[in-house]
Subunit: 347 residues, 2 copies
C-alpha cells in the first residue's frame, strides 16, 4: 500500500481538511502517479456538498489530474517512470459492454468514476486528485504531450474532453457557425478548441463583462443575451450550439437561433428541468442533444490535438489550503477560468 | 375563373357548410385538378376551430387531396388531363431561399399552405381540398402511382410524408430498432412505411386496445405503456423513436428507452410544453428532434416508395355531409385510421 496525503471532506457541510489514506498495491496493469496538479471542477462542489444526493464520505474530490509516473506494474509497457500523464473522470469501467468495446466508457452502465464511488473490488472508496498519489489501471491513464505544462493541462482532463467530444461528434470545423453559451471553465475551453478546429465561434453570455476575454481567447463574435434584440438578431444563425452552463435558461430561445438541421448540445443539468416546446424542434428540424465527458480513446485524441495546437486552460494556480475558499469564488464566477491546485503545497 | 363547390366554415364555432367560390384562371404553370378525395387531418380540426389562434375565414380545410388533372396551363409539360395527382400541405413557397433550393420547402420562411393563408398575390385566400376543384402550380403537384387507389392514397399527402420524412432522414431501415408512439392516422402510416423500409417496429400505445391492429399492420412488437414495468423493461431498446401523438406525455420516460446515440423525433405539439431533463439527453448522448411534413421532392419519393410497396392508408370513406361529425369521432380516436371524403358526394 502507498500512503497518501490529501484533502477530503467528511460530510456535506464539512470543510475540506487534511486526510491521510493509502492507495492499493500495484497490480500488473497499474500505474502509480505522483500527482502534481489537480483542477477544480464545479462537479467537485456538487459532490462534496451532496447536491446530487449520492455522496459517499470521506470524499477526496478531483478528476482533472496531471502528474508523473513513479512506478508501474509488471505488465505495463505503455508507461514508464517519469512520463507526463493525466487521469480524468473515470478510472475503470466494465470493459465488456458494447459502449466499452467502442471506447465510449462514459456510457458504460458500470463505470468507475475517479471519486465518489467504489473501486472494482466493491469495497474500496475511489478517491480523487486532491492528493499526492494515485494508482490507476494503465487503460485509464492518458499521455500528456511534452509541450504542454502539467498545471494548465490539468483541466483538459474534464473541461477539455467535455467540450472536445461534442465538437468532434457534431463535426465542428471549417464552415461551422458555432454558438457557445457561457464562458466559464467549459466555455473557455470550447472557444479554444473550436477555433483550432476551424469553426466560426460566437460566445453568448449574459452581459458584456466577458467580451474582452472571449475575443482574447479567439472568439469571432460576442453577444450579450441580456441586451434587447439579441435573440431576434440571431434567429437561424448557428449550425451548432454548445450549452456549457448549468443555470436555468429558456432553451427554446436558443433553439430558435439554430439553422435548419442545427443541434444544440447540453453539457450540464440546470437546477430545474426546462420546458421544451415541440415547435422549437419541429420548425427547422432542430435537435436538442446531450453529451457526457468523452471516452478514453477520445480523451487521448483530445490531448494530442491540444498538444498540436498548443491549447491549455487559462488557470489560477492555488495551494490546496485555498481550495475551500476557491469553491465560493467558483460559485460567484470569479475565476479565469479554472482553479488548479499545486500539489506541492500538500507535501 | 373556375366555379367550385366546397364545404367551408365561417368561424371558429360554425359548422362546416356548403360554400361556393371560384379558383383562379390558369397561369402558364398551373394545373386544374378535379378533386376526387380528400383526407381529414387533425390539423383541419385545429384550424377550423381556431385552436392555434391564426385562423382566417371563410375556411375550406383539407390538405390530403387526390384527383385527376382536368386542364393544364400552356407551360405545363409534366402533367396532362387524366393524370392521377395529389396535393399536400403546401401549394407554393418563395422558391429562392436555401431551404427551397434544397427542396425543403416546408422550412421556407414564406410557404403558401394549402389553406388558411393567402396565396402569393397576398389577397386571395388559399382554400383547401373539401372542394370539387383546385388550381395548383405544377411544381407543387404530385404524381400518384398508377397502382394506388385515389381514395386510400389521399392521406399519404400529409400523414404519409409526415412519417416518411423523419424515417428517411434518421435512416430507418434494416437493423433499426424503431419505436412508434401512438397508432392513429400518423402512427399507422409510420408502421407500414417503416416495415417496408426494413426496420424492426414496436408500437407504444397507452392500452392493449390497438394491439391486434398494430400486428395486422405489420408491427413486430406492441407495448402498452399503462402497464406496470413497461418502461423499465424497454430501457435502452430503440435506435429511433417517432412520437406521432400530440398529447401530454413525459418525454423523459421515452428518452430513457433510447440506446446510446438514439433519437426521438416529435411530429406534433402537445397542449403543454413538456419538461426535458438534461440528464435524459446527456446520459446516452440522446437527441430530441422535430420534423415537419416533408419537401415536394421527398413527397414524390414517398409516393413512389408507397407505389412500389403497395402502401396506402387504412381509411373510412365518408360523404362530405358527414365531415362535421367525423371531427368528433377523430377527437375520440374512433377511426381506423383516417377519414377520407368522397368528393362525388358534393357534386
Amino acid at each position: 500500500m502507498y500512503p497518501v496525503k490529501s484533502y477530503a471532506t467528511l460530510g456535506a457541510t464539512q470543510p475540506l481538511a487534511p486526510f491521510d489514506f493509502s492507495r492499493r498495491d500495484l497490480k500488473p496493469h497499474d500505474v502509480l502517479i505522483d500527482i502534481r496538479f489537480c483542477g477544480i471542477c464545479h462537479t467537485d462542489i456538487h459532490q462534496v456538498r451532496n447536491e446530487w444526493g449520492h455522496s459517499i464520505y470521506p470524499m477526496v474530490p478531483g478528476h482533472e489530474i496531471t502528474g508523473l509516473v513513479s512506478e508501474v506494474g509488471n505488465q505495463v509497457n505503455t508507461f514508464k517512470p517519469g512520463d507526463k500523464v493525466g487521469v480524468g473522470c473515470m478510472v475503470d469501467s466494465c470493459r465488456t459492454c458494447p459502449d466499452c468495446q467502442e471506447g465510449l466508457e462514459q456510457f458504460c452502465s458500470h463505470p468507475i468514476f475517479t471519486y465518489n464511488n467504489y473501486e472494482k473490488d466493491g469495497k474500496t472508496l475511489a478517491q480523487g486528485g486532491y492528493s499526492t498519489r494515485i494508482v490507476v489501471d494503465d487503460k485509464f491513464v492518458l499521455k500528456i504531450p511534452q509541450n504542454l505544462p502539467l498545471d494548465a493541462a490539468a483541466p483538459l482532463l474534464c473541461a477539455g474532453i467535455t467540450t472536445y467530444s461534442p465538437l468532434r461528434h457534431w463535426k465542428a470545423g471549417k464552415g461551422t457557425n458555432l454558438g457557445i453559451i457561457g464562458l466559464g471553465g467549459l466555455g473557455h475551453m470550447a472557444v479554444k478548441i473550436a477555433k483550432a478546429m476551424g469553426a466560426q465561434v460566437s460566445v453568448l453570455s449574459h452581459s458584456r463583462k466577458k467580451e474582452a476575454d472571449a475575443k482574447r481567447l479567439g472568439a469571432d463574435h460576442y453577444y450579450a443575451t441580456s441586451e434587447p434584440g439579441t435573440f431576434e438578431k440571431l434567429v437561424k444563425t448557428f449550425d451548432l450550439i454548445i450549452c456549457t452552463v448549468s443555470v436555468d435558461l429558456d432553451w427554446n430561445q436558443y433553439l430558435a437561433l439554430l439553422k435548419r438541421d442545427g443541434t444544440m448540445v447540453i453539457l450540464g443539468a440546470p437546477p430545474k428541468a426546462p420546458t421544451v416546446s415541440a415547435t422549437s424542434l419541429i420548425f427547422g428540424r432542430h435537435s436538442l442533444a446531450g453529451s457526457l465527458i468523452g471516452g478514453i480513446k477520445e480523451t487521448q485524441q483530445m490531448l494530442d490535438f491540444c498538444g498540436e495546437h498548443n491549447i491549455v486552460s487559462d488557470i489560477e494556480l492555488i495551494p490546496i489550503q485555498k481550495a475551500q475558499e476557491s469553491y465560493e469564488r467558483i460559485i460567484k464566477g470569479d475565476v479565469k477560468f479554472r482553479f488548479v491546485i499545486d500539489m506541492s503545497s500538500l507535501k
